[in-house]
Amino acid sequence: MPPTEEKNTLVKPETETWKSDMERVGFVRRLFMARNWYGADWWFVAISTVMVFAFIFVALFPGLLAPFKFDQVVGTSFLAPGEYPDVPVLIVRSESPVEKLLDLAVPAEAIRPTVGVIQGAPAATAVNEQSKTLDAQLISENKGLRLRPRIERYVTVEELMVAIDTGLVQAGVANLKEFDAVASSYPSLHSGASITSETASAGGFRMGTNDIGQDVLSRLIWGTRVALIVGFSSSSISLLLGVPLGLMAGYFGGSFDRLLSLLMDSLYAFPGLILAIAITAVLGPSIYNVIVAIAVLYIPTYYRIVRGQTLAVKEEVYIEAAQSIGARRGEILWKYIYPNVIPSIAIVFSVNVADAILTGAGLSFLGLGMPPTIADWGIDLARGQRYIQTAWWLITFPGIAIMLVVLAFTMMGEGLMEIYNPKLRER
């Protein structure tokens, strides 16, 4: 039998390969390797995280993405998605620098521009009126520019189009719908701005307009800001209050724990929305009151989870070990118990934000949350409810928006929970 010292040389370096692959790669690679491990749950979390960041981006830069401001009246009321108001617009050749009626202004002595219209069409009168108004404005500006176009009348749309195309007139005015009907035959022509104050989009408003003519899509985008502010603020407050209370109650126990738990359990059992209704009813509508009301609602959730976890961890042997080497109570709380509790807090937070946004929307829907000057999805839904028979888009899109945001946060929380919860792991 060979002596024992030689034995060690037989444990070759290659056997080190059985060290877990995990320990050899960096964090980012681990993140992607996790995809194979957790399967669908990884996708849950990944997709929802992307969605959450997208929403945060929208909330931070609504001006970038929204075509209009939320309180801007941009068109006629109750336009269906894709529908556009049949306003008279300027038609020009694509190379022409002219976009709006005012662009046709020229110095007083220069040749007057010609504008074509269809005989008898309402556009003709509109051109005259607008020109007079703008002309008066130009005179008062005293820059020497005047707007006195000469009107050429044509019998059909096609004749007008040809006239513009061949340069017989500098620009034409026709109703947008009329133009769109023949636009494909005249690829070198395009429509410019409306000559009245109503704005027109060539494609219409993608989600239609509401009862006072505001663009639904823009309001949707601006509303993201409010929703996320309410969600994050109230959840943060609940967290900051609930977590320490839970830690203390769980760790110190005693009558403090019992009293607090009684209060928290009663609060938790009570319908949140109703309590929030009561609080906002008394305090009055404002975004701060909404945040406070919702925050109160979720304190018990954090309290319960943290307290439960603390109680469980407290019984673990390593806490006894720490105590036996003389660690102070505060240290134990901070260094041992708290780190174990963090994953649960993260999960609760994401679900909490989702819930808070739902509750906030519910409050605005009932007319109790925000003052009506703020763009908010709940308010839009409430306003749209009255026109359910005629304008379906008013309630459909804000609701989808709420659903997507809440879905994103909920999915994140759900996915994280599947990954972290040891009880759900496979044996």
Partner: protein
């Protein structure tokens, strides 16, 4: 296959699919269980003995699977049966007694219900009254008064619950009982009574018992033969007295030496060097070679086959292989 063999296991391999890779918890294990014997299966924790026990009844669920081998029970290859047929075998021909009787019994189901449900699952024509009668007779033979059948598991003591578990395994006259760590959660006195009971039952019912345990003392007391597992492989098997008197495999030797013995004069407790290997990337060749005091070059290259080393004793070690020349 010897005529007296009840269960011939050949080249059984059970794999777990884990996040870190595929693990072979049982790797190419072959042995026989003889009719009427009590076979002990010992080894350290995580050596694969529990997995083997479950595998014999094809109880594994994803992520564990049997990936190879034959299970010839009483002339039939269990691997060839479909799920319904296998379900009849479970409980009907092979029974299992679990480690912790508290958690192995349904807390919201009364005791008699456990029994009658089992009877009716296998013999649906039996009426409830008849099933109840059978259950009562059975438990009385095991020392439980029939009135106690109306109780719930939490109302009984540990020893009594364990006897209930045995009676569950016996309700259908199973031929083989697999006992997975049956005494680990019992105290010493109850354990002794339990082992006595096993012996009696073997006598009375003609049972064959596979006793899986990490407690060598239990095996010494009650088993006829013993099999030793290490790192998912079978390393030694044979008559219990022979092996205890004369262990051949270095691991078995180490195992038996590790058992604390009051009469020994040794100043220290013996402890084997090293630790059981990770089954994710096990050592090449013989799995014990990194810890073996008698290691040879060939040990790290090839896995030794099971070879006869005594009258009723086999070991898997290159020390005894006729192929290898050694001095």
């Amino acid at each position: 296959m010897p005529a007296e063999s009840l269960f011939s296991i050949r080249n059984l391999t059970v794999e777990y699919h884990t996040r870190a890779g595929d693990v072979k918890a049982v790797d190419d294990v072959s042995f026989d269980i003889r009719r009427g014997e009590i076979l002990g299966l010992v080894g350290e924790s995580a050596c694969g003995k529990s997995t083997l026990g479950k595998g014999l009844m094809r109880l594994h669920r994803v992520p564990a699977r049997i990936t190879g081998g034959e299970l010839l029970f009483d002339g039939r290859d269990l691997m060839s049966l479909d799920e319904d047929e296998m379900r009849m075998v479970r409980g009907g021909e092979i029974g299992m007694v679990f480690q912790d009787p508290m958690t192995s019994l349904n807390p919201v189901q009364r005791i008699f219900d456990h029994l009658t449900e089992t009877i009716q699952a296998h013999e649906p024509e039996t009426s409830i009254a008849a099933a109840r009668l059978r259950a009562e007779e059975l438990v009385e033979r095991l020392g439980i008064r029939r009135e106690r059948l109306n109780e719930y598991p939490h109302q009984m003591s540990g020893g009594m619950r364990q006897r209930v578990m045995i009676s569950l395994a016996l309700t259908l006259r199973a031929k083989l009982v697999i006992a997975d760590e049956p005494t680990t959660s019992l105290d010493v006195i109850v354990e002794a009574k339990f082992l006595d009971l096993l012996r009696e039952l073997r006598q009375e019912f003609g049972l064959t018992i596979l006793l899986i345990t990490h407690n060598i003392g239990v095996v010494a007391e009650v088993a006829d033969r013993v099999a030793v597992m290490y790192a998912a492989r079978l390393v030694e098997i044979g008559d219990v007295r022979q092996i205890f008197a004369n262990p051949q495999h270095p691991y078995t030797r180490g195992l038996l030496r590790s058992v604390p013995n009051i009469t020994l004069d040794d100043a220290e407790l013996y402890k084997m060097e090293g630790a059981p290997p990770s089954l994710l990337h096990p050592p090449t060749g013989c799995r014990f070679h990194p810890r073996c005091p008698s290691v040879m070059p060939i040990c790290s290259q090839k896995h030794p086959p099971l070879e006869s080393v005594g009258e009723d004793q086999q070991a898997a070690c290159w020390l005894y292989s006729k192929e290898v020349k050694h001095d």
